[in-house]
């Protein structure tokens, strides 16, 4: 049986949206898929050595559950107050640890161990004046055509 292929495009740089690419990438690899993740725009944040800067924000996120169902009555403007983002980020991290959810760093390491390949979009790295030295090891810098080389015959392609 020919090895199946999964191509993922990761575009978001938040604590919550950092999970899907690494969860699905590592799981697919465990199931025997050949996996590539193309990180572009804000998704590049997921490649930085230290991921402590990633946040989750309640602002503009009406689906985010809050303690005591606060999200049902809390005015949107309150979610924009200074400190709200830091508070929600800290609560999310605590909740994840309590529920046995892996850290992003751990899932990223497991992905790399399982030979998931990470590609950083060269154009957005330059656009944001990012230094490839800020990234973890084992990242390939490339463009859209390189992504299609793999995605073109992938069985599954996901945009996140």
């Amino acid at each position: 049986m020919e090895q199946k292929k999964l191509a993922i495009i990761a575009t978001k740089g938040t604590l919550d949206w950092g999970y899907p690419p690494f969860i699905l990438g590592s799981t697919a690899a465990a199931l025997g898929y050949d996996v590539e993740i193309f990180f572009t725009f804000y998704g590049l944040q997921l490649l930085k050595k230290d991921l402590d800067h990633l946040r989750v924000t309640p602002l503009g996120n009406p689906g985010m559950p809050m303690p005591g169902g606060m999200e049902k009555w809390m005015p949107v403007l309150v979610t924009a107050l200074p400190g709200m983002e830091a508070m929600m980020t800290s609560m999310m991290k605590k909740q994840m640890a309590a529920k046995g959810v892996a850290s992003l760093t751990e899932l990223r390491e497991l992905s790399q161990e399982a030979e998931v390949r990470f590609i950083a979009c060269n154009m957005t790295v330059e656009l944001f004046d990012m230094e490839p030295s800020e990234f973890i090891d084992g990242i390939e810098l490339a463009g859209a055509a390189r992504f299609f080389e793999f995605a073109g015959d992938a069985d599954i392609c996901m945009y996140m």
């Binding site: 799981t27 465990a30 892996a102 399982a114």
Partner: protein, 76 residues
């Protein structure tokens, strides 16, 4: 529960960690050897069925006992 060659306690771990840890543990075993996995994540029941189907490693047993889930997987 039948005999097994190695054991993995994935209690307290959530998706996808039990599967990822099991994959690693199986990689260290020879073909035909059996891995016993203990998990507390209810989602792991369906996940190990799917893992077995897709990887060809046979799920010999799957049961709940004392609030924990037990799986026996034979390395293909």
């Amino acid at each position: 529960m039948a005999d097994f060659d190695d054991e993995l306690d994935a209690s307290g771990l959530n998706c996808p960690l039990p599967i990822l840890r099991a994959k690693k543990a199986l990689a260290a075993l020879d073909s035909g050897k059996v891995l016993h996995i203990i998990a507390t994540d209810p989602g792991s029941v369906k996940d190990f069925e799917a893992f077995s189907k897709q990887t060809g490693n046979e799920l010999m047993e799957s049961k709940e006992e004392g609030g924990k889930f037990h799986f026996l997987i034979k390395k293909a």
